[in-house]
Symmetry: C2
Amino acid sequence: MKKAEATRLMILQKAFELIYVKGYQTTSIDDIIATTKVTKGAFYYHFKSKDEMGLAIINEILKPTLTNSFIEPLQTEENPLDAIYNLMDNLLMKNDFLKVEYGCPASNFTQEMTPWNSEFNKALNVLTQEWTKAITATIERGKKSDTIRKDVNAKQVTIFVMSGYWGIRNLGKLENSKKVYVSYLKQLKIYLDSLK
Amino acid sequence: MKKAEATRLMILQKAFELIYVKGYQTTSIDDIIATTKVTKGAFYYHFKSKDEMGLAIINEILKPTLTNSFIEPLQTEENPLDAIYNLMDNLLMKNDFLKVEYGCPASNFTQEMTPWNSEFNKALNVLTQEWTKAITATIERGKKSDTIRKDVNAKQVTIFVMSGYWGIRNLGKLENSKKVYVSYLKQLKIYLDSLK
DNA sequence: TCAGAAACATACTAAATAGTATTTTTTGTA
DNA sequence: TACAAAAAATACTATTTAGTATGTTTCTGA
């Protein structure tokens, strides 16, 4: 990797951290250049605006994370229902990229930017669609292998499961405790079992 | 109601509208005084800071709405499971205080303010606790009247249902369509039926 | 009716903000 | 090694922001 590329990526990573913790609006360019120890000239050499950087965070930081942590695990696990449950269990209880007190980055972004920036909206929609596709495919796989009932509506279940995940992240953030995650996971298990 | 009180309430209502649409950070005091046609002097006569106003919105606008639209309906409906389902159906599909493109006000607030303002956090937690209590009570009522199985964990189910609601609001906001609400509601029904 | 307080209006300020113009340094390569 | 382009540093600007200081008007009760 060229040095310039490394700088760019470093800015994105640290900026993401800041934004994940503090929110997009409340993170200023000055905050970012202070923690990255990069000058304003360097920052604006790599990004022509704050919003362009925001989009780059979605596409170059969140997207790979989605692929690695939200989609791949679904494909490696044999049993589809276990795959979904274990994914959630890992994301909520074990993953240490995501912190309970800061919620879900994609969800935070959605809440904060969707009202006023359609570019962010589009980029976030792409992420969501990709995750949706992966979960739906997993359920369809289960239907084929007879571990999930044929009458189960894969898309509906996906939406139901996804919304639960986003919501519980929000609730965990509010209460600043993983306790709600445990309750959520128990009921998720019961719900998933009902699809057998 | 005294005239001054009316002014205060009018500011809160219009400010809430603005914040619900644009977000808290991106709504400036100048925005608020422009749309309320109240001068800065008047604004700061009623609220000593923007954050105090934000808290007042939670306590004086959101709280009554919670009581009227999120809690009361649970208590008037006879059958507990129907009560919960109908509540969600009403909130998502019929209520016109809440708009799909702007998501859930409480959820928006949580996402945006929780990271940096513990006062907001506390106030929002109170709202959530109240709703939690109401849903849990409804489920317990169902267990007593034998419309819900005795082995159902009321608190867990409450958390599961609530997280689904928050999440689907977020998803609806992202996709700007009530279509996801329909899918969510269908699976919610199936899930609730499994508690019988 | 009039004094004093409540309610509102006007004009400002200091700080923060995103972004720019210009210069300097670093780097790859002919 | 020279030199052009890439990368980064510096110093600035215009605007927006929350908030204040100091009025003026309106109301209310003795």
